[in-house]
Amino acid sequence: MKKLLITGLLALCLLTQNLLSQTAWAEDANDSVPLKTVTLSEWEAVLKSHQGEIVVVDFWATWCISCLERFPHMVTMSERYQSKKVRFISMLLEDPEEPEAIALAHQFLNKQFLNKQLKGKNGLAFDHYSMNENLMKSFEVLDLLGIPAVFIYNKGQLTHRLTGDNPNKQFTDKDIEEAILALLKSS
């Protein structure tokens, strides 16, 4: 009888612990930055859905140190232009067969937006997508040689393609801001 009671108590403890950990996970999930997985054709639809806006797309990956270094600047920039209705979008380019890298990227995103009001779906100025395609195919279809790269769209048209494709014409944060300001001025 005593043995049965101890077993019962242990089971209750384990169940409570499990429930507590599930609650903590759920809270984490609610606080997590949304990261939506898309195919290339879905990405096309995403861009089409923002045709009325200035859209700044930051291509990045956890294997790209320059991308990680640039990302906080993109967050700051997105805050600066939130009231101007400039939409920032990050496009994660990891190998879809490497879920641990995508999880790591998601952790990185969560850290970037910790205590930021930009987080969450309503009033979001920075959306986050992860490309669910073969990496080489993604680079080919997006016509990317390398990342970081920033593409800026206005009224559905690609107006600025900022890349490191030419060693003598590397882009900076200043180039991104100048492009946004030029588009804001012309609209």
Binding site: L40, E44, I65, S66, L142, G146, P167, N168, Q170
Partner: protein, 205 residues
């Protein structure tokens, strides 16, 4: 067709010299370089290289795509041992973990069996139009470019745990090796350009 449509919507055309290179095109001459310090303590100049084929490989110690293919690069060098082929690894990134002291450590650790040089001026990287690591450039006896791009059709990345994974499974087409063989034979390289895949090279303004 669908891919072409996507390309038109998502990207803009590039005004490049080569298909995937803003500066260099196939047939262009090797940019001369002088006294680049190597990890073995020597210094290397283009005029001193006498082999029939010169392969310049853009590398960066920190890059997971370099770490992923390191052993296959070592195998490539072994494959052409005894033939008139010289392989020179080139690093131009200026971050501490990509500079000469770190290059020495990395080269010894992974068993680099070729000359590994550092170009602090970044001039050679710029002149090659090299923007990614790893990226292969093959030159013939006259030092004209015969191939640039990937090692093979399935780039490999090393993850944080040190595991290597090829993104397209086991490589089937060995572009760089095929290019070296054709160049040694004095033949045109069948696929002279491929889209190199890896980390971006960081150039100063």
């Amino acid at each position: 067709m669908k891919t072409l449509l996507l390309l038109a919507l998502l990207a803009a055309p590039n005004a490049f010299a080569g298909q995937y290179n803003a500066i260099m095109n196939i047939g262009d001459a090797l940019p001369a370089f002088e006294n680049l310090p190597a990890t073995d303590g020597s210094s290397v100049s283009s005029k001193d290289i006498t082999e029939d084929v010169l392969v310049v490989v853009m590398l960066a110690n920190h890059c997971p795509w370099v770490k992923g293919m390191d052993q296959d690069l070592v195998k490539l060098v072994d494959q052409f041992k005894g033939q008139s082929v010289r392989v020179v690894g080139l690093a131009v990134n200026l971050r501490e973990d990509d500079r000469l002291p770190a290059m020495k450590v990395h080269g010894e650790k992974v068993g680099y069996n070729f000359t590994y040089v550092f170009d602090e001026s970044q001039d050679l990287g710029r002149a090659l139009g090299a923007t990614r690591t790893p990226e292969y450039f093959v030159f013939d006896k006259e030092r004209k470019l015969t191939y640039m791009g990937l090692l093979y059709d399935s780039p490999a990345k090393m993850n944080k745990s040190g595991e290597v994974r090829h993104i397209n499974g086991e490589p089937k087409t060995f572009y760089a090796a095929d290019a070296i063989t054709a160049t040694l034979d004095g033949k045109a390289v069948e696929q002279a350009e491929t889209r190199a895949h890896g980390c971006s090279v960081k150039y100063t303004e």
